[in-house]
Symmetry: C2
Subunit: 432 residues, 2 copies
């Protein structure tokens, strides 16, 4: 397969590459063989004027069972939100019919938005999480999926808790083996201790061993909010990164959601373990009590991708979160309190721009997941989208003298799912 047109991607952080008259050639395995410029083969699919070939968007943090509640209940602090709204919602996934309807709707919506890869927390239910994997496979989305583990009776309600530590461990093992039996590389298992408060030390220790045994991805929340951060300090006398590291849960396949409260020492720990961060700017507004220092993390060469954190974040779109990552970095740099003097209001040199944000949405997310994707480099899988700027039902309007960089910036701020004309995962068309 050959696709000819204008390519926009971010081969390295902070840099865009625009290739006019490009031809991307993809082999039968869905892997990019070459990217050339100039005349394309006669059988190439040629993109229409006003459309652009971009890498697929990568969502590094989604709570799949929270999909029905997205956009509601943002008045509560994290722990109360979990106990009063979110755990009751997740508990519903013991019902497989409900799970099927919700997960199909979710994956359809993410694909419509150009999310070629998503990293999912499931519920505590093995069966529903297996179903999530089945649906992802059937719909062709690249998916990293874990059964959430939460076995700590102090922090998890009776109606929504793993029956025991053993159940949490066995269920996780069962899910890993189920997904590995699906016969596709596109769906991968993830060991998923919800966060330290939800899990007993016994479970955390076993998950660390399991991560090594299976050489498997890990995901958890790290220093998301003041409450959570201080809970861990109190229980373990350690910061999240230190505690996770002690349990063997900081690996080069670990995705740490949020990290809003990490300090320089945490960054060093994360960098030396080669773990990655899922930056979830929309969610952080409501549940994190501060702004994730994205620029500092990127400058220290941490692996950082973006997460919608559905339903902590109120958007299913990675592009919306890219815009919000820029927005919140500006709020961090400028500060928020007009009654403070301007010089002391914000934190200098913390802003990122649309190039950084787009990099996190694509190549950065791929780096977090250890995936050969996110750019159009030969050898990468062909996970890609066509951005169509000519759609009527959209606020995105491109004018004659807009450059390709302008187009991309406008798309980050203004594209909706109608502007995503085509979506491929590993060369297979899943939209359009």
């Amino acid at each position: 397969m050959h696709i000819a047109g204008t390519v926009i991607h971010a081969p390295s952080r902070g840099e865009l590459e625009v290739i006019d008259d490009a031809c991307v050639s993809v082999n039968r395995e869905g892997v990019i063989e070459s990217v050339t410029q100039g005349e394309a083969p006669t059988d190439a699919l040629t993109l229409a004027p006003g459309t652009f070939l971009l890498p697929g968007l990568i969502d590094c943090h989604v709570h799949a069972p929270q999909w029905p509640q997205m956009g509601t209940a943002y008045d509560l602090p994290l722990n109360e939100w979990l106990q009063q709204c979110t755990f009751p919602m997740e508990a519903k996934y013991s019902d497989l019919d409900f799970a099927a309807a919700s997960y199909s709707s979710l994956i359809d919506t993410l694909l419509e938005n150009g999310t070629t890869t998503a990293t999912y927390y499931g519920s505590i239910h093995v069966a529903a999480t297996q179903l999530l994997a089945d649906i992802a496979k059937e719909k062709g989305q690249r998916a990293y999926i874990g059964k959430v583990a939460m076995d700590n009776p102090d922090q998890c309600p009776d109606f929504y808790r793993d029956a025991s530590t053993t159940a949490a461990i066995d269920g996780t093992r069962q899910l890993v083996e189920y997904i590995r039996s699906l016969g596709t590389d596109r769906v991968q298992p993830v060991i998923t201790p919800r966060f330290i408060p939800s899990c007993t030390d016994d479970a955390l220790a076993e998950f660390g061993r399991m991560a090594s045994e299976y050489d498997c991805h890990v995901q958890t929340h790290c220093s998301e909010s003041d409450w959570q951060h201080h809970y861990v300090l109190e229980r373990h006398g350690l910061k999240d990164t230190q505690s996770l590291d002690r349990f063997g849960l900081l690996t080069d396949k670990t995705v740490l959601a949020h990290g809003v409260l990490i300090d320089d020492e945490d960054m060093t720990t994360i960098r030396s373990s080669h773990s990655g961060i899922a930056h979830c700017p929309l969610s952080n507004l409501y549940f994190s009590n501060a702004v994730f220092p994205a620029r500092r993390a990127l400058d220290r060469q941490l692996k950082v991708g973006l997460g919608t954190d559905i339903a902590g974040g109120a958007s299913a779109s990675v592009l919306d979160n890219a815009a919000m990552a820029i927005n919140m970095s500006r709020a961090l740099e400028e500060g928020v309190d007009a009654t403070a003097a301007q010089v002391s209001r914000g934190v200098d040199d913390t802003r990122i721009d649309f190039r950084d944000a787009f990099w996190m949405a694509t190549a950065g997310g791929a780096e977090v997941l250890g995936l050969n994707a996110g750019t159009f480099a030969p050898g990468n899988v062909f996970d890609a989208i066509v951005l169509d700027t000519t759609v009527a039902a959209s606020d995105l309007r491109v004018w004659g003298d807009d450059s390709a960089e302008d187009v991309l910036q406008k798309a980050i701020y203004g594209a909706n799912q109608n502007n995503i004309a085509t979506v491929w995962v590993q060369g297979e068309k899943v939209k359009g």
Copy 2:
């Protein structure tokens, strides 16, 4: 005309009213005659399941000529952005063909998004601004329109400045009289000194007299950014509100854009003059160096509506700005700098919720403009939209046990223009 279905509106700040089985009856002049509950007349238009009747959205601050650049060039501080990007763009509106294409596209897009009323800055050009009024009239949008005045050679470039103070004054007068000759109440003139830096004192004084002479709306920017705020302090030894008041420019028909840096004294001045504020949260992220204290302004019973501030804000949607108003109030309350102690990080009691935000997007905006609209009260004009939650091409998903309040909250965060099925202005259908 009778419309039957579920109505959601905000009759007073912070309160939603949901009326199931409502029937809104509208007379031939497009004015609401009654809102009843129960059986509707047989000729009523009955809303389909999953759709809701809401007041039309009101945008209190739009720079019409900046439409082509929306979504680009957010790297510069306000004054550089004006000089390098925005003034060159606005200067293009000497070309009436360009103006016609841009203004048609803008008004179409705002109507698609359910914006029944918009308050526009034009360019300095009388002819292009007359054209903007013509297009608004033709397309049926309720519009408040001003020719921007900027006659101060110290602050305005040679290529984009009123030819003289007299030209700024005469052009404004010409536009007011042109719009009043259009024979429609739906398009109203606005005296529009860009902001104090752009105008000479002679012009400002004359605009104050003109506001009284014509009993006409006024719009200008007020304490938008540190640079602008301090410029006025230096030039006049006064804060913006004091200086505007001295020139007779704070009236009950004045719309003050932004007001990010206003203090309690300013709020008292604004309240006693019965002026209103256009809160533009998306724009403020990039150009205002802080967050507008919306809760404080609302608590002091100031009139506050929302503005997209195209192109300072990167969205054409009032609902997006409602969501961002909530978001930024959370950033103000929580603070942004994770290295600060939580207790001193933000400003207590500054958050607003979706009820406040929806009120600003509808009734609050109407109050700012002195318009009988924004709720379904008898006597108000029927400016309304149908929110359709059943649309496929949208991220908005409603589930069985969502309440009408949940639906509204989800729509604020997730509706796109596809969810706005029908739009009426004064009883006339302009979309759907």
